[in-house]
């Protein structure tokens, strides 16, 4: 059996692959706006705050998405309203609330037997346990979220880039922000099953950050981020199958590996490429100034 095809003979691996492709594309898309709008901390708060919902629906024998959606919507609304009032420092309030919610989930769960095993699978996800129904539900929600993001792409971009101008143009910035938070909440909730509460943020933030290093164009960043996240999901699953490591955490580490490679070798922003470019600039200085590279040449010649 081949390294690539062997895992796919199992039904649970087929479903996991499908799930991770859908989740990856969704997180990659929505994550771009999380990164561009600076919502990473809020996203993490959301992921933790839905934990009591996850626990309650798990104990009731329901899909964890039911409770998670309830708490996700509540938290997104709460954060949106907090951001509007200037009474409390926003990030402090969010920090207080999300820690409290998370603790509440742990306390509820600790009343049950088999606490440690359950806690593990809820906190870190259980992608190998997804059913076909899970995959279908995930795909439907992912489709709806993607559609909304694409229809409002222009407005979300404007609000992320220049909120003052957006208000000047009469756009309802508060409602657009709230909607974006809801979409982030939905994304996080459907991804919980894959990587769990603790690691889900990595899937939302790391692929867009990687894509941003590789391109200066928004549309390319969106596409690249979706491909990278889905790719990290699939590659991570293969690695975890063959090495016998935890699937969710392996996926996150593969995504992190991609980020580090991009950080080193990206065409414009890369650490290593920038250094090589600079060194080459030193050689060029004696011969000619390539257009657009005068800057490097001059810097080098001063040395």
């Amino acid at each position: 059996m081949n390294w690539l095809t062997e895992p796919l003979q199992y039904g649970f691996m087929q479903r996991a692959m499908l799930e991770v492709l859908v989740i990856g594309a969704l997180c990659g898309l929505v994550g771009c706006f999380v990164v561009l709008r600076g919502l990473a901390f809020i996203g993490d708060a959301l992921a933790h705050a839905v934990f009591p919902g996850v626990v309650l629906s798990y104990l009731a024998g329901q899909s964890i998405m039911v409770g998670a959606f309830g708490f996700g919507t509540l938290t997104a609304l709460g954060i949106g309203l907090l951001a509007r009032s200037r009474r409390v420092s926003e990030d402090t309030a969010i920090g207080v609330i999300f820690a409290a919610f998370f603790a509440l989930g742990v306390v509820i769960l600790s009343r049950q037997g088999g606490f440690r095993r359950d806690l593990g699978s809820l906190l870190f996800g259980n992608i190998l346990g997804v059913s076909m129904t899970d995959v279908v539900v995930t795909a439907i929600i992912a489709g709806a979220v993607t559609l909304i993001v694409l229809v409002l792409l222009k407005e979300f971009t404007l609000v992320a880039f220049d909120p003052v101008m957006a208000r000047t143009l009469g756009y309802p910035v508060f409602w657009l922000d709230l909607l974006l938070l809801m979409l982030v909440a939905a994304t996080i909730v459907v991804s919980l099953q894959t990587v769990g509460n603790i690691l889900v943020l990595a899937l939302v933030v790391t692929p867009p950050a990687t894509a941003r290093l590789l391109t200066d164009r928004l549309l390319r960043m969106l596409g690249l981020s979706m491909v990278l996240a889905a790719g990290a999901g699939v590659a991570g699953l293969y690695v975890s199958y063959h090495l016998g490591t935890a699937a969710g955490a392996t996926i996150v580490l593969v995504a992190t590996g991609m980020f580090l490679v991009a950080l080193g070798f990206a065409p414009h922003h890369g650490v290593v490429t920038g250094w090589l470019h600079h060194r080459r600039g030193v050689h060029h200085v004696h011969h000619y100034h390539p257009p657009g590279e005068e800057h490097h040449g001059q810097k080098a010649s001063v040395r």
């Binding site: 222009k154 003052v164 208000r167 000047t168 960043m221």
Partner: protein
């Protein structure tokens, strides 16, 4: 006008004629930016109203162009100059419609008119400071505005870029567009603007430059931070 819990700016009453170019001056922290953002509709008014002719500012949405201070822009955002200028057409486009060829041509035209022809596909971080300001000015132009708000447009900008700005401001004024410029460059105001509004947390004076730009008013607005020499003034904020 409230920002946070303190009234940042209060008691500003000015009737600005259409087509006027108004210099908004005052020491650092006097509320120039706050006033501009309030006019832009980005900060709530605690009291009072801003009207444009017979219309409230809400009805004017889309016809107010705001050019932010350079430090307030996220230059690492993945957009090209052309993307930024096209944003000026978003309101006219309406919801759910993506900019097409017409918008791109308008944006390219505006960039070319400001001396940035053919550079539209560059990322916004790949321009000089003055050029970056011109990109945002081009965005204001394609908005076909009735009111233009410029926040410190001359900071760190060389003579050539200044000239481009003044030329565009004159064009706006000639078309009857009202322009508000927050600046700490007093000479700029004295020599190029029709009106002046002196601000120091509240309005000190407002009127045509020739009558209002006086040593007494400047001293009232800037306190001891301005040296006045026989009608020519040079001022500096704290820090």
């Amino acid at each position: 006008m409230a920002y946070g819990h303190n009234l940042a700016v209060c008691d500003v009453t000015a009737e600005i004629p259409a087509g006027a170019v108004v210099g908004l001056i005052g020491p650092n922290g006097s509320g120039k930016s706050t006033l501009l953002k309030a006019v832009a509709g980005s900060l709530p008014l605690a009291e009072g109203s801003i009207r444009f002719g017979a219309r409230g500012m809400r009805e004017l949405a889309g016809r107010v162009a705001y050019v932010p201070q350079r430090e307030e822009v996220n230059w690492e955002f993945p957009v090209t100059a052309l993307d930024v200028v096209t944003m000026g057409r978003y309101r006219a486009l309406g919801w759910g419609r993506w900019p097409g060829r017409r918008e791109r041509e308008l944006a390219e035209g505006a960039l070319a008119a400001l001396g940035l022809g053919g550079l539209g596909y560059r990322h916004i971080s790949q321009f000089s400071g003055g050029q970056q300001q011109r990109v945002f000015l081009a965005r204001a132009v394609v908005q076909e505005p009735e009111l233009v708000l410029l926040d410190e447009p001359f900071t760190g900008v060389d003579v050539q870029n200044r000239a481009v700005f003044h030329e565009q401001i004159r064009r706006f004024a000639a078309e009857g567009v009202t322009v508000l410029v927050a600046t700490h460059d007093l000479e700029e105001v004295r020599s190029t603007m029709s009106h002046v509004l002196l601000l120091n947390r509240s309005m000190v004076a407002f009127g045509p430059t020739a009558e209002t730009f006086t040593p007494a008013n400047l001293r009232a607005a800037f306190g001891g931070q301005v040296a006045v020499f026989e009608g020519t003034a040079a001022g500096k904020g704290p820090g």
